[in-house]
Amino acid sequence: MHITLRLFASYREAVGKSELPFEIDAGSTPRDVLVKLRELYPQTQRLSDRLAFAVNASYAPADTVLNEGDEVTLIPPVAGGWR
């Protein structure tokens, strides 16, 4: 099925795109999408693996089952700085 992967910050720069169409198997999860991204774009393997995921603009667990047309986003660490 077809989903869209949105990329920001270090991931966007490594891949050179802010949005990627993805074909994935039914039952796939954001974690599966990340694995496939790393295969297709090996330069992403050196990036931080402390990632959160969003599905359709809300935080979602890495093992969320995705649906046709979902928008998946990788969320590298957000930089809040020191209090």
């Binding site: 920001f8 603009a57 986003t73 969320i75 930089a79 809040g80």
Partner: protein, 134 residues
């Protein structure tokens, strides 16, 4: 109420005006500005990038949570994106309440939680190049 990601320069007064009303005894405003140093290195500029739709939704969720904890507080917040110079405001949170205790507490909680949750990233420009902060 405003929970917004914008490219425009930020000013506190419009946000304060939004949250003030006759029942409010005070407004507490936090302005985050670009600092000239980080972890022992000089910073020359910061680039902010946001997942805008989600950032604004997360800011609205934050405001809703704050209203559960401090029911009489009114909140407004704006975060800027783009390449910012030293001293430029990057984020403003304004909180009003009948009494100042709630306004201080809510403003502090909102900015602390915003920085953990809202999908906005910083790239630090300095001596030796630029790096995404995490």
């Amino acid at each position: 109420m405003i929970y917004e990601v914008t490219e425009e320069p930020l000013r506190a007064e419009p946000l304060e005006e939004l949250v003030l009303h006759p029942g409010a005894g005070g407004v507490v405003t936090f302005t985050g500005v670009v600092r000239d140093n980080n972890r022992g290195r000089t910073t020359t500029a910061l680039q902010y990038e946001a997942y805008k739709e989600m950032a604004e939704q997360e800011m609205a969720k934050l405001a809703a949570e704050a209203k559960q904890r401090w029911p009489e507080v009114r909140l407004a917040m704006r975060h800027r994106v783009g390449l910012l110079k030293i001293g430029e405001p990057a984020v403003i949170v304004a909180a009003s309440a009948p009494h100042r205790g709630e306004a201080f507490d809510a403003c502090e909680w909102v900015i602390d939680t915003l920085k953990e949750r809202v999908p906005i990233w910083k790239k630090e420009y300095g001596e030796g190049g630029a790096v995404w902060l995490d």
